[in-house]
């Protein structure tokens, strides 16, 4: 039997990516605390801006990216796209939780109470979080992995289109209570803008690293299950896969290798 499947194609990519991410985050933290001047009005509290807003932007981009990957999955019916869409949305949900928590900390700092309805980004994030919180239960509620992937992709595309719509509606309806420094990234003086950009890049790299890390872990687990099926195929009836929200990638372990060029991701 020729090589059953290409060796894992992830390892090296992950190593270089994580090194770059660590450097970027270190630089960002250095800039935030030692280089960026104190903002006139909010003073030191404004430093939260450099973590809250990048988290928010990356989470939103992640949700929309999850929708785009889902479109690709519906077009090509290739379960790997569904796996990517699942991981990206799963990660964006974690970043959205981070956004909500840092946002409420910021609200406590600047207006004295943990939740503020007048801040549009916070409010729309709560709605988006509530929507994407149903992604996992929806996947878990469908047994057939192929249909699970398809329904999840339909959800991801609908929710991906919902994200901007929700922002428009909430932004229109929220009275502006205070200067727009919290959300806006445009009218920042030079050094602040640089610091913000570096923090944004660092956050994006963190997102990419964690996604790749999870993809590798999931791929390894499905390879393992394929190996278990092949081995136990000889010994006893293979234990069927327990029902789970995680996409199932069928590694036809016995089947000839996929196109040699494309790594199995």
């Amino acid at each position: 039997m020729e090589r059953s499947s290409r060796p894992f194609g992830y390892g090296n990519g992950l190593r270089t990516l994580s090194v770059v991410t660590v450097i970027a985050i270190a630089v960002a933290l250095g800039l935030v605390f030692f280089y960026a001047p104190l903002e006139a009005e909010q003073g030191f509290l404004q430093k939260i801006f450099y973590v809250h807003v990048p988290l928010a932007i990356i989470a939103l981009c992640g949700f929309v990216l999850g929708g785009l990957l889902a479109i690709q999955h519906l077009r090509t019916r290739d379960p790997r796209w569904d796996m990517r869409s699942y991981v990206v949305i799963h990660m964006s949900l974690i970043f959205a939780v981070g956004t909500l928590i840092t946002g409420s900390i910021w609200a406590k700092g600047s207006w004295g109470h943990w939740w503020v309805w007048s801040e549009p980004t916070l409010v729309s994030f709560l709605i988006i979080f509530l929507l994407y919180a149903t992604y996992q239960p929806l996947r878990f509620a469908i047994e057939d992995p192929e249909r699970q992937a398809r329904y999840a992709s339909v959800f991801a595309i609908t929710a991906g289109a919902f994200v901007p719509m929700n922002f428009i509606a909430v932004r229109l309806s929220t009275a502006y209570l205070h200067p727009r420094v919290l959300g806006s990234t445009s009218n920042l003086p030079g050094p602040m803008a640089l610091t913000f950009l570096v923090s944004l890049v660092a956050m994006a790299l963190l997102f990419a690293t964690l996604c790749k890390y999870e993809l590798t872990a999931k791929h390894t687990r499905s390879q393992l299950r394929a190996l278990r099926r092949r081995l136990s195929g000889e010994l006893a009836d293979a234990p069927t896969r327990p029902r789970s929200a995680v996409p199932a990638i069928q590694h036809a372990a016995a089947a000839p290798a996929r196109a040699a060029g494309r790594p199995v991701l």
């Binding site: 872990a217 000889e234 991701l265």
Partner: protein, 92 residues
């Protein structure tokens, strides 16, 4: 060297505002830590499964080398550098 940097740095006004800023960054750090912890648990589960499989393959009498021999531990040098274009280009 350290003293030079410390003298340069603007005094960090860690009064009330600092509490919240510290809180925010700790939250970010906590999220990443929790995530790494969960992945560590998964990794240990994978190792346990792998152990089971190894024992299984010995019981099946077939030496594991024949079936999984080609899986070199380290990704082969031959593999092209940029394995997977998708996640890295999340920014693009």
């Amino acid at each position: 060297m350290l003293s030079v940097i410390l003298s340069e740095v603007p005094a960090l006004p860690l009064h009330t505002a600092g509490k919240y800023v510290a809180g925010a960054y700790i939250v970010l750090f906590a999220i990443v830590l929790i995530y790494v912890a969960i992945m560590a648990i998964r990794l240990s589960r994978i190792e346990r499964d792998l152990g089971e499989l190894l024992s299984m393959s010995e019981r099946a009498g077939e030496p594991p080398a024949s079936s999984a021999g080609q899986h070199s531990a380290e990704p082969t040098a031959g593999a092209t550098g940029k394995q997977d274009p998708q996640p890295e280009s999340t920014l693009a």
